[in-house]
Symmetry: C2
Subunit: 197 residues, 2 copies
């Protein structure tokens, strides 16, 4: 199962699985190839799965009535992604998940995940840690959105997630930070003006 080495290493950081548990777990994973610009999830659909990204790059965003995009998150290698609110509540998705590059993901459906928790309770620990870290990250993001300027948030973003930069446009960063692309452009220009002679 050479396919699964990345996700198994990810999991091994937090829990240990024997051969049988590993085989059962990997049997639940559905590998999917997502071509660049195609969608893993669209607003209004049921969000019944979480996705582990093996390769490529994905972006989750919301589109409001007036056509404005807001990016909720990016995900590359070794990240998990889903519309968690709709996954939990079973309401129609509010997010679109789109491939920014040809990507390879492993899909885990909600009912399979629940079965996994019953059969291999160790996975409760694994996902408890994942969810706890995700919660901590989002709580920090809320705080930073409330307290920091666009310039400060931009700097934190590019320093925290340098791996994302090759995949994403400045417009998409703007939609993540919650400002217009025009405004972010001037912010970045004024930043560099201070650096270059």
């Amino acid at each position: 199962m050479i396919h699964f080495s990345l996700i198994l290493k990810n999991i091994a950081q937090h829990i240990s699985l024997d051969k049988e548990e590993t085989d059962y777990f990997t049997s639940l994973l559905q590998p999917r190839k997502i071509a660049k610009k195609s969608f893993l999830l669209k607003e209004g659909q049921a969000c019944q799965s979480i996705y582990y990204v093996q390769s490529g790059a994905l972006r989750a965003f919301h589109l409001d009535r007036r056509g404005k995009e807001s990016t909720i998150t990016f995900a590359i290698n070794d990240w998990w992604i889903t519309d968690m609110y709709c996954f939990v509540t079973e309401q129609p998705a509010m997010q679109n998940i789109v491939a920014m590059a040809d990507s390879s993901v492993l899909q885990l459906q909600k009912y399979e995940l629940e079965e996994l928790f019953i059969k291999v309770p160790k996975f409760e620990r694994f996902f408890r840690i994942i969810m706890q870290n995700s919660y901590a990250r989002e709580q920090l993001r809320v705080l930073q959105n409330l307290t920091l300027t666009a310039e400060e948030r931009y700097n934190i973003f590019i320093n925290k997630y340098p791996q994302f930069i090759p995949h994403i446009s400045q417009k998409q960063i703007a939609s993540y930070l919650g400002v217009t692309p025009e405004f972010l452009c001037t912010v970045v220009k004024n930043m560099t003006r201070g650096i270059v002679s």
Copy 2:
């Protein structure tokens, strides 16, 4: 253990404990009374515990250099609260947690929680669910902060958390929504103007 009936009911919603597990769990909980206006956590301190609120009302907020408060969350009966980012990363707290009314909480320290996970792995499930729901809630809040107006966020807030209203001032709601109290005041005034003749 009449003290613990509320938290045990909270836990029973997700997992079942036998007598021995219940006794062990409750032995880890430190009851604390917090007088109105006193602090459970201050910025800069180590954040080594999570708190379950039995009664009263708490508020977690950040204070920036310029003296501006930003409210991260409120918590009343039957809620868990902590500075999750600093709890996880073991960095100094970025949040202050203050009692808005005389409150009673149960404190669970991080090392005890880790011990609990080892001795009663069922609790992994319980906290996985708590963390997952918290993550979903924060992800939704990020999205709403990016896409909705102050008026829309205000309406969602008061409809979603009516239990909070008796405890909190409009100024505190403003600091939760990320606007100034003056601005929220005019927003609310303009809302009611549409309702009253």
